[in-house]
């Protein structure tokens, strides 16, 4: 083999070695990844939960906040919406305040709540047969007393 072929062969081996290392050691530091998307096992009895933030600017008409409203991608937005009611109540107010920051008063939220919907699983005996929701209030002004 010629020198250039040897050098390129080293590159090929290095790339394959990186892929092997990602697999063997489960590396997960960008740009390395063992591509674990949707890899977790979710038993049938675990109920899917969907979280929505619903806000109002005038106290009468309510709308669902989207990832775009906060300049986030859908995945980034969902990461900030915990499915635990207490955690959601603790964090959703901050999202509301970030939404309001930099907006004129007329475009600011005056009310915001988080809704956690339980999604029934088809074909699961004993699971919730009807959708159930939990609603938490989001504080649009920072908590006082601290």
């Amino acid at each position: 083999m010629r020198p250039r072929e040897w050098l390129l062969s080293l590159l090929f081996v290095a790339v394959i070695a990186v892929k092997a290392a990602e697999a063997i050691f489960g590396l997960e530091t960008w740009p390395l990844s063992n591509v674990p998307m949707f890899a977790g096992y979710v038993p049938r009895m675990v109920t899917p939960l969907r979280v929505t933030l619903v806000g109002t600017r005038d106290g009468t008409s309510w709308f669902a906040l989207s990832a775009y409203d906060l300049l986030l991608s859908q995945d980034e937005y969902e990461r900030r919406l915990p499915t635990d009611a207490r955690a959601l109540a603790a964090g959703c107010g901050e999202l509301g305040r970030l939404y309001n920051a930099g907006r004129p008063p007329s475009a600011r939220l005056v009310g915001l709540y988080g809704r956690i919907d339980r999604v029934p699983r088809p074909g699961v005996p004993g699971g919730p047969s009807e959708p159930a929701s939990t609603v938490v209030t989001c504080l649009l002004s920072p908590p006082s007393g601290r």
Binding site: L11, P31, P36, A39, G40, L72, P122
Partner: protein, 406 residues
């Protein structure tokens, strides 16, 4: 044994392949990146609230803070300039290297908003491999210019259309793409085990994503189990595509897989699927179309003066653009009379055209020049072209007369 292995390795990676296919891969990667990035994809990195800024390790390690919108806009502009340069083949390798660095930086910054995505990693690998390959030897203005200059200085060399180093970038990129799927399959086995195929996990994710088709599918647990098994089988067998004859099967499986995730979960990963186009045998396809349509069977004689540097340069450019290999070059200089018209074209009907009309006839015959054809018929352009050609011919005749006088 070792020698045979080495010979096999060398044959696999370094058997000559089409430089045109590699150059098309370069143009495709540029097209995918241009469509993906646009001028706005990374802008929100500077626009989001600082509370959302969660630098990943590499960004934190480099001490990079959240950039401003203006900085991101400047980076986007630089990216566009580099993409154009790489696409046209101007300072291609340098532009590719700069593009790789800039793209990696922007991707790292975008991944610092709380969610790390790996959907564009195969594109980054594609850029890296192209930087190190002779992807600038075909379909590149720089290469056309270099060859034309060399032709002007000396004898016209036949164009190199194949190279030992034209095969490996696409093969190594396939390993990266296949590893992407294989690692995803392996992760499922690592974190969930074989029970992942019972469909329970897929049903859960479908209900969370809540698309119309996804909710329909989630209502059929057996179908979820069958699809889960198919997904895992595809992911764990994607590496078989390293054997080239099996590659189309793996890519077809991948296309179906992504179609499924798009329809049922609204997850596209389209940049990865778009990279599949790199594996279309474009040159063979073009040759087949040219033959099937009869385009390639109507040859054109191009009569040129091999003693003239200008003619040699022109012929070099024509040869670069002659993808269907229709043009038959005839050097008339060894047979005596140099052609002051510089360009004579003889069609299959025996009709000979000179000057601007020959140029226009040639544009019809060269697929890479078709984009110019409408312009060549635009009002005013033919008369201007004929006048320019006549002037150039007069100057050449005068120069030839001076040469003879000397």
């Amino acid at each position: 044994m070792g020698r045979r292995l080495l010979a096999g390795w060398r044959t696999y990676w370094f058997r000559p392949a089409s430089l045109a296919d590699l150059a098309i891969a370069r143009i495709l990667v540029v097209g995918i990146l241009a469509y993906l990035d646009g001028t706005t994809r990374f802008l929100r990195v500077g626009g989001v609230s600082p509370q959302f800024w969660k630098p990943i390790e590499i960004v934190h390690g480099l001490g990079i803070g959240q950039p401003s919108v203006e900085t991101m806009a400047r980076m986007a502009e630089a990216t566009v300039v580099l993409l154009v340069a790489v696409g046209l083949g101007v300072f291609t390798r340098v532009a590719l290297a700069l593009l790789l660095v800039l793209q990696l930086l922007q991707e790292a910054l975008l991944n610092s908003l709380g969610k790390v995505s790996h959907g564009t990693l195969p594109l980054m690998y594609a850029l890296l491999f192209l930087v190190l390959s002779p992807c600038d030897r075909a379909f590149s203005l720089g290469a056309v210019w270099r060859r034309a200059r060399a032709a002007g200085r000396g004898a016209l060399e036949p164009p190199v259309r194949r190279s030992r180093f034209a095969r490996w970038p696409r093969d190594l990129l396939f390993i990266e793409i296949a590893a992407y799927y294989y690692l995803a399959g392996l992760s499922k086995l690592r974190y969930a085990g074989v029970r992942w195929i019972d469909g329970s996990s897929l049903q859960y994710y479908l209900l969370q994503k809540a698309t119309g088709p996804g909710l329909w599918l989630a209502a059929h647990p057996t179908a979820c189990a069958v699809l889960s098994a198919m997904v895992l089988t595809f992911e764990l067998t994607a590496m078989f595509g390293v054997v080239r004859v099996l590659r189309p099967v793996v890519l077809a499986g991948g296309a179906l897989f992504h179609l499924g995730t798009w329809v049922f979960m609204d997850i596209t990963f389209w940049p990865v699927v778009a990279l599949y186009t790199v594996y279309v045998p474009w040159r063979r396809l073009a040759t087949w179309v040219a033959r099937w349509t009869g385009f390639a069977t109507r040859p054109l004689d191009l009569l040129y003066d091999g003693g003239s540097a200008g003619s040699r340069r022109l012929v070099s450019v024509v040869r670069d653009l002659d993808l269907a290999r229709r043009v038959h070059l005839v050097d008339v200089a060894p047979h005596g009379d140099p052609q002051p018209a510089a360009l004579l074209v003889r069609g299959p009907d025996g009709r000979t055209l000179a000057g601007y009309d020959a140029f226009r006839r040639l544009a019809w015959a060269l697929p890479a020049a078709w984009i110019l054809v409408p312009l060549l018929y635009a009002p005013g352009v033919p008369s201007l072209g004929r006048r320019l050609h006549a002037g150039a011919a007069r100057r050449r005749a005068a120069a030839a007369g001076l040469d003879r006088g000397a």
